[in-house]
Symmetry: C2
DNA sequence: CATAATTGTTAGCCAAGGCTAAACTATTTG
DNA sequence: CAAATAGTTTAGCCTTGGCTAACAATTATG
């Protein structure tokens, strides 16, 4: 509870969606379904992305570092590493540090790129860096490629002029 | 797999975050923590928001409608309603339709407002309505009030001129 | 109004993602 | 090089949010 709840929600200007009719049932259901699907992959993506970052910036990814950066117990990380292994995203020998497989590297790169676009977009919009980092960490997993393209275009406009 | 993955991720123009140093450990951990916290409340918020919408647009909120709109089994809804009850967000008599408590109405309104801002913002940005609805459903739970204000300002600019 | 259809509930299952405590391995250091 | 410290894994627990199948209640219909 710090920066995230200082100002109260506003009233929406323009047409309020509350006034609109509900979407057709099938479409409505598909919206929630998409969110549920994103939730299944997002933790995985964050782990893989973080492992990639650690390797790149630290030379190696150790479970203890992942745990402290994630803000989670080492046991939790250990369990997750087993899952990443089963998914073919990392390779690991017991008590040694981790490596990303081909697939893992690909996922790390895609996630990192998407994360960066969302972060840069928020900053370009005028959001404070600290807040932007927090918001981006959650939002990134729920942004379609269409929206991503538009965000990228927006960044370009703000940046080179 | 439809509209959400047609165009490939781009290269980030401008400074890439991958090049930046990792954030200090404590801050990094707090980012993920914020996301975990959001995940704890988001389903609840969506249920309450949907119940509010159903009452408003249909006159009542029945479990079967919630199930079909959420794209989930009735058993799942039944179980969730018990939770909402325990949390003091809804009142319900067995086999009857639902009502929001004071707290529930408040949460529904706050969620609905935030949802609308995100949706209107995406449309104002130029995102296709269909995609915007999908993205908004997930993004809404990860947007700080700071970002929300900025989104609102952006909507106002685009709208009244 | 009796039966059929719809709606709601309960029981029991499962996977994911947290945790603590205990055991084990590796690394550092006196 | 032995002992202490740091890092990793395992076991076992918990909650959340899904599911199916069986049962119960309500509502609609012939
Ligand atoms: Mn990320
Ligand atoms: Mn993330
Ligand atoms: Mn919503
Ligand atoms: Mn939502």
């Amino acid at each position: 509870m710090s920066d995230r709840d200082q100002s109260l929600p506003h009233t929406v200007s323009g047409a309020s969606n509350s006034g609109d009719a509900l979407p057709p049932i099938g479409e409505h259901a598909r919206q929630y379904e998409t969110v549920r699907n994103a939730h299944e992959t997002e933790l995985i993506e964050d782990y893989v992305e973080l492992i990639g970052d650690l390797i790149q910036h630290r030379g190696e990814a150790r479970a203890a570092d992942i745990a402290s950066r994630m803000g989670v117990s080492q046991a939790t990380v250990s369990k997750m590493i087993r899952r990443l292994n089963e998914l073919g995203l990392v390779t690991s020998k017991p008590y040694r540090s981790l490596f990303l497989t081909e697939d893992g590297q690909k996922m790390a790169e895609v996630s990192r790129t998407r994360h960066d676009i969302v972060l840069h977009f928020l900053r370009a919009l005028g959001v404070n860096d600290h807040t932007a980092r927090i918001d981006a960490e959650g939002m990134e997993h729920h942004v379609s490629n269409e929206t991503l393209s538009i965000m990228q275009r927006f960044i370009d406009q703000q940046t080179q002029r």
